[in-house]
């Protein structure tokens, strides 16, 4: 079980309250978690990463276990605590602009 915290606008889009809980097959990586998230909530496609390039949108960041994982390669494993559901993967909208 993987826990994901979405920024408020994306919670509204996905019509979810609180954390999103996902089942991820195989290695728990940014790519596999985002794949599972978009499969469960197709409306989020394109809002976190570009649909063609799969690159993270510039003003979104990925955090977990007090670490900024935004620049981690998408196929690297996420921390064990995220893979075990102890800690959530936090998708954060950067404070930028007005």
């Amino acid at each position: 079980m993987i826990r994901v915290v979405l920024p408020p606008h994306l919670r509204s889009m996905a019509r979810v309250d609180g954390e999103v809980v996902l089942e991820v097959e195989g290695a728990v990586t940014l790519r596999s978690v985002l794949d599972a998230l978009e499969a469960a909530h197709p409306v989020l496609r394109g809002t976190i990463r570009d649909q063609a390039t799969q690159r993270r949108r510039p003003f979104l960041r990925f955090f977990a276990c007090q670490q900024d994982l935004s620049h981690q390669p998408p196929d690297d494993r996420l921390p064990e605590a995220v893979a075990k559901g102890v800690e959530p993967l936090v998708i954060l909208a950067a404070i930028a602009g007005g």
Binding site: P7, H9, L10, M13, V43, R45, G46, T47, I48, D50, Q51, A52, R57, F59, L60, A93, A94, A96, G97
Partner: protein, 371 residues
């Protein structure tokens, strides 16, 4: 009794304003999609309950919303806008070439015949079409390929395709306008295109009479006479009587020929409206007076319309998408401002009243006339 539904896009959400045919007593619904930039909302002329919305964000990108019940409920549809083939490059601000990158949808134009067909004008400038109600989008790439796309360059607001006009007499004819490239026409349903900028003169570009490179702000036509086009350019109000083959200036006695929107009266093809803005350096009305100007002669001669509009200390702007007309008689004229006001005139511009005064900055206004 007829009624009107005004679709307002703002910097922080969408609003729907409704009234009966008297246009006196208004109901304000919204915000829808609060916190998001709503560049455009437009309803299908075939099925007024079908409404498309462009919802964008610097954080989360582009979303397209669709309503099938007149805006009461919404469903996100397709938001995958991929340029056809290798996107290529266009002119950048410093004269170098810059890759084409999708930023957002500026304009949604539903088909005149089929509610499932809708066109999207996007930044970086390109035209997309959906034939399945917005679920999937395909670029009509002949526009960029045939029309010297590598010579286009962004205006201050980005390189956007902001105007899409569908010809009611010739269904295969489409007009579009791009800042800062100019106006273009297709006569084969968007497959091939030609620039239609002969007669435009822009002193701020290296060749003032260039085939492309003009900062066209908005084009309008009257559906009964679609070969006559009216244009508000970066500077100059222009007119074409031959579907854009040639243009001539009709700015006449306007206090400034800079501005953004232009609209044509619903029942009088020679009656045209603009909102003069002091200059491209100062995006506010001359003398702090918010004045719509009306020509009843197809240009050249303009009269200020001021009753009900602020005539002192007014420094709002009216953006290119933020003016529209209804189809009632007398014709209603509507516009929204960057100060958050939406004004209506129920008598073709003679008198004005605010429908609402304190919305976020208004990006777009469209009107549906309902039975």
């Amino acid at each position: 009794m007829s009624k009107v539904r005004v679709l307002v896009g703002t910097r922080k959400g969408a609003f729907i304003l409704t009234a009966d045919g008297t246009r006196d007593d208004w109901t304000i619904d919204g915000p829808f999609f609060g916190g998001w930039e709503i560049y455009h909302i437009k309803g299908s002329p075939v099925d007024p309950n079908r409404i498309y919305t462009s919802q964008t964000s610097g954080w989360f990108g582009q979303v397209i919303q669709r309503s099938d019940d007149g805006g009461q409920t919404w469903e996100p549809v397709g938001n995958r806008f991929e340029y056809d083939g290798v996107p290529g490059t266009h002119q950048w601000y410093d004269g170098t070439q810059h890759p084409w990158e999708f930023a957002r949808v500026w304009h949604l134009e539903p088909s005149l015949a089929d509610p499932d067909i809708v066109y999207a004008g996007v930044e970086d400038a390109a035209l997309f079409r959906s034939t399945d109600g917005g679920q999937t989008w395909h670029e009509l790439s002949g526009l960029r390929r045939d029309s010297s796309g590598h010579l286009w360059q962004p205006g201050a607001g980005g390189m956007c395709l902001h105007t899409i006009l569908l010809d009611p007499e010739r269904p295969s004819r489409i007009f579009v306008a791009i800042s800062a490239a100019g106006a273009f026409r297709s006569d084969d349903s968007g497959e091939t295109w030609q620039p239609i900028n002969r007669g435009l003169r822009s002193e701020y570009i290296p060749d003032p009479k260039a085939e492309v490179g003009h900062c066209v702000h908005r084009i309008a036509l009257h559906p009964s006479r679609p070969q006559v086009l009216f244009m508000q350019k970066h500077w100059d109000v222009m007119r074409s009587d031959d579907a854009g083959e040639s243009w001539y200036e009709v700015s006449g006695n306007l206090p400034s020929d800079f501005g953004f929107p232009i609209a044509v009266h619903a029942h009088e093809p020679e009656t045209v409206y603009v909102v003069p803005i002091k200059s491209d350096q100062e995006h506010f009305p001359p003398e702090g007076k918010l004045r719509v100007y009306r020509s009843r002669t197809g240009g050249h001669e303009w009269e200020p319309l001021t009753k009900g509009l602020p005539q002192r200390d007014c420094y709002v702007n009216v953006l290119r998408e933020a003016m529209a007309v209804d189809a009632l008689d007398p014709c209603g004229i509507y516009f929204g401002t960057t100060g958050g006001q939406v004004y209506v005139s129920a008598d073709s511009g003679d008198t004005w009243q605010p429908i609402v005064r304190d919305l976020p900055a208004v990006l777009s206004v469209e009107v549906q006339t309902l039975p």
